[in-house]
Amino acid sequence: MTTVDRALDHAHDDHHDVPYLTGKGGPIATVWDWMTTVDHKKIGVMYLFTVLFMFFLGGVAALMLRIELFEPTRQTAAGITGAAFAGGEGSSVGGVGKFYNTVMTLHGAIMVFMFIVPGIPASLGNFFLPLQLGAKDVAFPRLNLASWYVYVFGSFFGVYVILTGGIDTGWTFYTPYSTSTEGQPQVVAMILAVFILGFSSIFTGLNFIVTVHKLRAPGMGWFDMPLFIWAIYATSIIQVLATPVIGVTFLLMLFERLFQIGIFDPGLGGDPVLYQHFFWFYSHPVVYVMILPAMGIISEVLAVHSRKRLFGYRAIAFSSLAIAAVSFLVWGHHMFTSQGELAATIFSALTFLVAIPTAVKVFNWIATLYKGSIALTTPMLYALQFLFLFSIGGLTGLPLGALSTDLHLHDSYFVVAHFHYVMFGGTVIAFLAGIHHWWPKMFGRMYNEFWAKIASGLVFVGFNVTFFTQFFLGTQGMPRRYASYVDEFTTLHQISTVGSFVLALGFVVHLFVFIHSLIVGERAGQNPWGGLTLEWETDPIPLEHNFRHEPIVKHGPYDFESVVPPGCDEKDFPLPPQDEVRTVH
């Protein structure tokens, strides 16, 4: 920074002119500062580490499931039970059968409610939404901090309830199984945990909606917003509208227990399928809470790393909103085998409707590559992996949306493979793309590109070996949520288990790459990839108040053709000089 800048900046509070990562005195003061911060960047980083920790927990549970499934019988689980729960008979986790089911519930509930739903919006969204909008913070910074605390409380509560209550219902808590087992009070407690976590989603969603409406930088119209913002905006709308439904469900279950009002329990005159309607009316839109932010990241990464304006910007933006709207109308496709013919037919038709904007997005992304300047960096590799895996995930949704084929594939391993291709191959891969893309901006350091690529290769291979086999398990007749199986399925299950360990190895390498980067990583420049969105106009590590001056938007987020002079490299990528911005001031 030049002295001229400093002189001009004296009007600002000096306190806010330090990079946000700079400590505040001693370790205790620094911890206190983080715990009480209302800075969206710090909250984003705290969210990032907490969701990654939950991902680790859920991943350990997944590996335990895969170990069990290596053998057709339950013998392996008996070994795990003996080792991990030496308490034996008195253990709340129960017998061998129940142990598998509890771990399965733990994996599902953690991954869905504590990792993938809050994942991208609350971490990367929190950090980069205000930066990309050119704002100082989100609209309600204290609500933002509250959402993190609510999330942490809800997560601890949920994991505690599953482990101590031995909840074995699966993450969907279907009645009457969930209300007729001895774990009934714990199931209600678990739904309370989901409700609490839902509040954290609502806080974040509401915050983002208001921020997008009110805090865009001067000159930024709706169609000048980066597509990541569009995706997060659509996500937030779903969060605010759908999450209350799980609260209603929780209250109804509570009323049924306390006052014996028959709602879901057939013993009291209720209808168990009604619960499925409530549950999926919440959980299906939430599937798009999981995937839309991932689509936003992919839009950013593809554009920046191929130096190309996104093909059909408006189509992508509108398809996000279309997906959000239609997502509320397709919940019944989870229940083709439990509802009447007319309802099933309508839901099947609506389901195909949601496939169209999704397909359009994929076409647009691939068309973006045409005549680009494509750098195969780690984020870009992950974005390309996303296109590969998400296409498989989307296409295998077709036989599940079609009525007759779903009669066979429903609740089979085909479904397991399909949603892992969408949720992992889509969301987690995009999350990894986003973390690598924005890592330099979050922590001011580069990571080791070579080892990150090795890790991404391991993740890609491990994931495909694990889950591609499961499509065949499903078509051949292997049902979901089985701890043991008939001998015919042994080979495919063993291949899948081997794949899951390759996948885990990939994440271990990633972990080392991140730690290495934080300690000795090369200092990152202000704009290592040559992006044109506003977050790259901040300091290498953003200041507490983000921008030295309120940014003025003078070009679109992907106008590489008009802004980037031919022949320039990312190292010497020119930004609009600060002075030039100031003259507009």
Binding site: P272, A315, D411, Q476
Partner: protein, 398 residues
């Protein structure tokens, strides 16, 4: 309605890869569910290869070269975008209607279907044929040796009237390509027409079937797995059954045979019922722990109940039928008295067991305590003897 399967070698090869073999029901095979699946497969392969091909090609062709900027190109193209919206939409419309057609055929039972009652419970399946009998043969799966075998006729419309005793289960025959949930509060109809047994199919086997005293030789059959597809708790993974498809004649013979031969010991009847009605799922006969109390050496011993009361030794001494009545009540109305330390989760067997079977079970439980059973004194078994004798006579005449 069975249409011929396209006879492309690649098509059969892929069916083997995906499903091990083409479907064994009329809705599943041919242009039905397998056909739609393969159509979607080819559409998917086309688009996937196209997209990934373009992606790979462009990533190579337009890889970043230092000093070379991206070439200019259009940022959108309305005609192209409309095209790639409309074409997939049309394909989706085809898939939707094709799926709708197969679904309706799977859901709508044919008029003159053979109707069989099916009960699902934690954790097993029971079928009751119109003759009143259920399954009486079992196979082994993993740790369970009580997986029931249900006989079904080939190439005949069958309607299963399904209901659940407890939670939601789902009846899935992967070889038929269809499943349907089994509900605790209503009947759901699972209808199918199993494919005719094919001489050339190496999976069609032959066996001698023995029921009580009668034997039928060289019965051709084909076994299909039945799985529970809706998660239902501890033994969900082992909630399996076998559907054994035989010829119509063999099926009629199997269904109409009396189950217990002349002079059958009631203990043997009880042992058969123990397996065939799914008691073995929860109750052990060797004293080991289970979901329900063991039957080993319990007869005429005091029983503590969950509400603090008990069936006392004094009551047992005073009334020689006290334990018999306790067993009877526990089978027909299980929630009346709950054994201490166990949950109230056993379904009622009222209407599912005949008097003879009930008496047999009591005799069996009694025998597990080392007590002899005097056949003469158990009413009901004389009638059984007569029935068997009549049927023997009929067979002899035939």
């Amino acid at each position: 309605m069975i249409m011929t399967t396209p006879t492309l070698a690649i098509h059969d090869f892929l069916l083997d890869i995906f499903f091990r073999r083409g479907a064994d029901s009329d809705v599943g095979s041919g242009w039905g569910i397998d056909g739609l699946f393969m159509f979607i497969w080819w559409v998917s392969v086309f688009f996937f290869v196209l997209l990934m091909g373009l992606m790979g090609w462009w990533c190579w062709k337009y890889r970043r070269v230092p000093g070379k900027a991206a070439e200019p190109s259009a940022s959108h193209n309305t005609a192209l975008e409309i095209t790639w919206t409309v074409i997939p939409t049309l394909i989706l419309v085809v898939i939707f209607f094709w799926g709708y057609d197969g679904y309706l055929r799977a859901q709508m039972p044919e008029g003159s279907a053979e109707q069989v009652d099916l009960t699902a419970f934690k954790w097993g399946w029971g079928m009751t044929y119109d003759t009143g009998w259920g399954a009486d043969e079992t196979v082994t799966l993993g740790s369970r040796d009580d997986i029931p075998v249900f006989y079904m006729p080939e190439d005949t419309p069958v309607l299963l009237k399904m209901s659940s005793q407890d939670v939601i289960h789902s009846f899935w025959v992967p070889d038929f390509r269809t499943k349907l949930d089994v509900m605790p509060n209503r009947f759901t109809p699972y209808s199918f027409r199993a494919a005719a047994l094919d001489e050339a199919d190496e999976r069609v086997k032959t066996m001698d079937v023995q029921i009580a005293d009668s034997v039928r030789e060289n019965v051709r059959y084909r076994d299909h797995w039945i799985f529970c597809a809706e998660y239902c708790g501890d033994l969900h993974s082992e909630m399996a059954a076998v559907m054994r498809v035989v010829s119509k004649d063999d099926y009629e013979w199997w269904k109409s045979q009396p189950r217990y031969g002349a002079g059958t010991n009631p203990v043997e009847v009880g042992e058969k019922v123990y397996i065939a009605s799914g008691c073995a799922t929860c109750h052990s006969v060797d004293g080991s722990a289970g979901t329900g109390p063991t039957w080993f050496e319990v007869y005429n011993r005091p029983v503590p109940f969950a509400d603090g009361s008990e069936l006392s030794q004094a009551e047992i001494d005073a009334d020689p039928l006290a334990w018999d009545n306790y067993i009877r009540e526990s089978i027909l109305n299980p929630s009346a008295k709950i054994h201490e330390g166990y949950a109230n989760q056993m379904p009622s067997y009222d209407g599912r067991l005949s008097d003879v079977e009930l008496r047999g079970l009591i005799a069996y439980i009694r025998s597990l305590s080392g007590l002899d059973v005097d056949t003469e004194n158990i009413p009901g078994f004389e009638a059984l003897d007569e029935q068997a004798a009549e049927s023997d006579a009929a067979n002899a005449e035939g």
